[in-house]
Each structure stands twice: as C-alpha cells, then as structure tokens.
C-alpha cells in the first residue's frame, strides 16, 4: 500500500533529477536521436510540479491522472505520449489496486500499448520490464535499475528515432531508458517502498 505523500516526494525527486540531468539526457539523445529528450522532460517536469503542488489529492487515481495528462500535454515528442500513457494507465489501475508492482506493471502496459515496443528494442521499455519484474519479487535495487540501463547500450534500436541509425545505435545508452532509470531511482530514494 502506498501513500500519496511519498508518491508526491517520488515525482518531485524525479522532476529534480531530470532537470539536473537535462544536458546529459540531451547528450544521450544527440548521440542516437535529435537531442531534445532532456529538454522535453524538463518542460514536463516543471509543468507536473506546478500542477501537483497546486492540488490536494483524495485518491491515487486522480494523482496519476493529473501527472499523465500534464505529461501528454507538455512534453510532446515520442516520450510525452509514452510517459503520459504510463501514468494514465496507472490511474486506471489505481481504481482497483494500490500495490506498486501492479500499478507499475499497468504503466508498462500503457507504454507498450501506445508504442508497440517489445523487450530488446532499445527503448524505455527495456528499463521498465526488469524493474517491474524486480518489484513483483520485492527486490528492486539500484543495481537492478543500473544494470538494465547499461544493457540498453549493447542493443540495436529498432523503434523510435534511434532506429534510423541501425547498427550505429549500438554502444549508446537509450535516453528514454536513462530517464526511466531516474524515475525508478527516485522511487527508491523517496522511500515509497518502505511506506
């Protein structure tokens, strides 16, 4: 069972991490994309912060829905609808469950429904899948997060903008996997799991 307060903390930390690492995310995206992933998410993070800090939430679903809608309407690009769909899907799931593993699994499902990416295509999905697995088994650690991230390096992108590079996408970390790693690191730091 998760508390809204700690979730707020989570999302706040995530926003901070993305903002601090804006240039790094842009750089990763420059290497295999168009260099805007950090700028996109920073814009989204600022909007989410404003939205969430202004509101009182009675239930998880409204909280996730606000985040999802804000991301969808502020981020743009590929990552906007994907992260947005994750949170909107979590909002739906939150009406039935408050188990974090279940919620994040619904989030992953939202991303995959929208973006059609499977494991191994070098997208954010490659960060989400192992994390959701670990959560289910109750052993999400920074190592899991970091290992999955590093694994995207050897993958060849077959979805999204990086797929235009073909083999040349190999050797680079996927920017969306990196921003997802920040999301899950923040989850650990915010202590949501201990809640």
């Amino acid at each position: 069972m998760v508390e809204i307060e700690s979730l707020k903390k989570w999302i706040e930390l995530y926003g901070e991490k993305v903002t601090e690492n804006k240039e790094h995310l842009n750089q990763l995206d420059s290497d295999i994309g168009d260099g805007d992933h950090g700028s996109n998410l920073t814009r989204g993070a600022a909007a989410v912060k404003e939205k969430v800090s202004e509101s009182e939430y009675e239930n998880l679903s409204d909280f996730f829905k606000d985040i999802g809608m804000t991301l969808v309407s502020k981020v743009g690009g590929a990552s906007g609808p994907l992260y947005g769909s994750a949170f909107i899907s979590m909002a739906k799931q939150a009406k039935e469950s408050d188990d974090l593993a279940v919620l994040l699994e619904a989030g992953l499902d939202g991303i995959q429904k929208r973006g059609k990416a499977e494991a191994g295509e070098k997208t954010m999905v490659d960060e989400w899948i192992p994390v959701v697995e670990a959560l289910k088994e109750n052993n999400l650690t920074n190592k899991v997060i970091e290992d999955s991230l590093q694994k995207t390096k050897d993958m060849k992108a077959t979805k999204g903008r990086a797929s235009y590079l073909g083999d040349r996408s190999i050797g680079h970390i996927d920017p969306g996997a990196q921003s997802s790693a920040y999301l899950f690191e923040s989850l650990l730091e915010a202590g949501v799991l201990n809640g």
Binding site: D34, D36, S73, G77, S79, P81, Y164
Partner: protein, 330 residues
C-alpha cells in the same frame, strides 16, 4: 550559437505571433494555443490539418490558407506537438464534414496525432489521416520506425488542399492521400548541420570538406558521408537513389520539388535544379509536369537540399498542384 531570438524557450510562441501579425489577412493564431488557423470563411468542406515540430518553416503554418491547410499545429523545435494542441487545430478546422490529418512519419508525431484523433472522436468530430513517409534514405522494415516524412509532405498538403477545396469527402481525401503517398519519394543531403535553439549546438558534425547523403530534416543520420563534390555529382547520387526506388519509364509524368534546408541560398538551389533537370529530363526522359524550387520543408539553419519526385498517376494531380492558393509560403 548565433541566432536572432530572445528566449529559446519562447521562440515558437514569438514566431507564431510574428507570423500572425505579418499575415493577418491570411491567418490567425488561436489564442492560448500553438495553432495557426486560416481566416478563409468556413463553407462546409473537410478540414485539413497538419503540423509537427517547429524548425521546418515555412512548413507547416506557411501553408495555411485558402486551397491548402485549414490549420497547422506547431510543436517545440523538432518536437511533435501534443495531443491537446492538435485537438485545438482539429476543432478549428472542423466545418462539419470531418477533418483530415497529414502526419509525418516520426514516432512522436504518430503517437501525438493518434491521441488527438481519439480525443476529437470523443467530441464527435470524424477524423481520418495519412502518414507521409517519403524519405527513401531510411529502410522501411520492421527494424526501423519506418521511412521518415520529409519535403514531399508539402506536395501532399497542396494536392489534398486543392481536393478539399473542390469538395472531396473525408473518405475521398483518404483514398487520394494514400495514392499520393504511395507515389512519393524524397531524399536529401546536408552540407552543414542545424542548431536547435534549445540545444545550443549543432545536431551533428561535418568536416569542412564533408557532406552527408540521406540526412533527415531533424539531422537524423544519412546513409553515407563523402567529400564535397560538384553539384552535378551530388545530383547524380540523389537521382540514382530515387531511380532505384521508383520505376521510371521515359515519358512518365512526375512532379519535381527541389527543396532548400533553410540556409542554402536560392542560387545554389537553382544550380542544383539545373543538374537534376539534365539527369531526369534529358537523360531519363521523364516528363516533369510540375516543378518547384525553394525553401518549403527546412531544418532550421541546415545547409543542404532535398529532391522529391511524385509520380503523377492521375493528371488531375497537376491541376491540384497548380491550383491557386492564398498562403504565406507556397
């Protein structure tokens, strides 16, 4: 980075305001949105909406007006607009007969426009769409996001715009769009990368004597780098790629667009057109029934050109390409 701007974060807003002010007889900006809408009065026709990341000016807002787009939705530079913005564009364009979306094939655009379509249908607006994927530099396989949408999109706007003006139904527009896109192929090259104002440095690097074939309009990688070479050799390379893709027979009728990337002087574009002409018309014997040269689908301040060929399956398309319009950038 040397640019005429104030705040990179506000560059799109200020651009849209400048555009709406300069051409207020043709377009208006829908308040609080990133939508440029035509002033042309509504007369019960299908609305035509396009858009995408900014940085491709005059695309897409420059093609809004009588005979072309009903509205254009601008995203941040090189970033797809969001679904709520696309929805505003759709709502403005709707004249009761449904709205047709012209989407360039990028994951971001496809996802955002698709979400907008869902939202519009919730508001009882019928929406159809086509995804333009004319960039033959990219392989169209399950291992890529598919071919990219580039300068050929402008010809789609023009032809569909004229057809919509003529009173085509949503369904008819969809059929026409599918046919046009199936006959469309483009390919480009770059001499100098673009600098996204929000990023502050060039999207890639090219040596002083290097060019890249097959580059995308957001600086996506091309298929080969070579030394700078004469215009006629550059033209030959691009024309060869197009030839591999399309089945040319002497006498076939094509529309030809030579498109500048934003920082390429018209002088160079015309020289390049002259070389392309020699290959297509004199050597291959194609009938180039429609020709156009200039900056239509740019990549901020990239130097380079692209060549688009549209096989004119239906002679009516020539009429549509030549039909008068009242827009800023055609």
């Amino acid at each position: 980075m040397k640019k005429i701007m104030n705040n990179p974060g506000r560059i799109v807003d200020e651009m849209l305001d400048g555009m709406a002010f300069a051409y207020d007889s043709i377009v208006e900006r829908i308040p609080e949105t990133k939508v440029i809408h035509r002033k042309h009065e509504k007369n019960g026709k299908v609305g035509l909406v396009s858009g995408g990341g900014s940085g491709h000016e005059p695309a897409h807002a420059g093609f809004v007006g009588k005979g072309m787009l009903s509205s254009a939705v601008a995203g941040q530079v090189f970033t797809s607009p969001t679904p709520d913005q696309v929805l505003e564009g759709i709502k403005a364009a709707d004249e009761g007969e449904g709205v047709f979306l012209v989407i360039k094939n990028y994951t971001g655009d496809v996802l955002n426009f698709d979400m907008a379509k869902d939202l519009a249908e919730l508001e009882d607006i019928e929406v159809e769409s086509v995804v333009v994927d004319d960039d033959i530099a990219v392989e169209d396989s399950t291992f890529t996001a598919g071919k990219r949408g580039v300068a050929g999109t402008v010809l789609v706007h023009k032809i569909l715009g004229a057809a919509a003006e003529e009173g085509y139904s949503l369904k008819e527009l969809k059929d026409l769009a599918d046919k046009v896109v199936a006959n469309l192929a483009s390919i480009g090259l770059s001499l100098k990368p673009a600098t996204n104002p929000e990023v502050g440095k060039p999207g890639f690097e090219l040596a002083a004597d290097e060019i890249e074939f097959g580059i995308g309009i957001h600086g996506e990688p091309g298929y080969r780098r070579e030394k700078l070479q004469p215009s006629k050799d550059l033209a030959a390379e691009l024309v060869n790629q197009l030839k591999k893709e399309q089945n040319w027979s002497a006498g076939d009728s094509y529309a030809l667009l030579v498109n500048g990337m934003g920082a390429t002087p018209l002088m160079e574009q015309f020289v390049f057109m002259n070389d392309v002409k020699k290959l297509l018309s004199e050597k291959e014997g194609l009938e180039l029934s429609f020709r156009k040269v200039g900056d239509y689908m740019t990549s901020i301040d990239m130097a380079g050109v692209s060549v688009t060929l549209l096989k004119l399956e239906d002679p009516k398309w020539i009429e549509y390409l030549n039909a008068p319009v009242d827009v800023i950038g055609w």
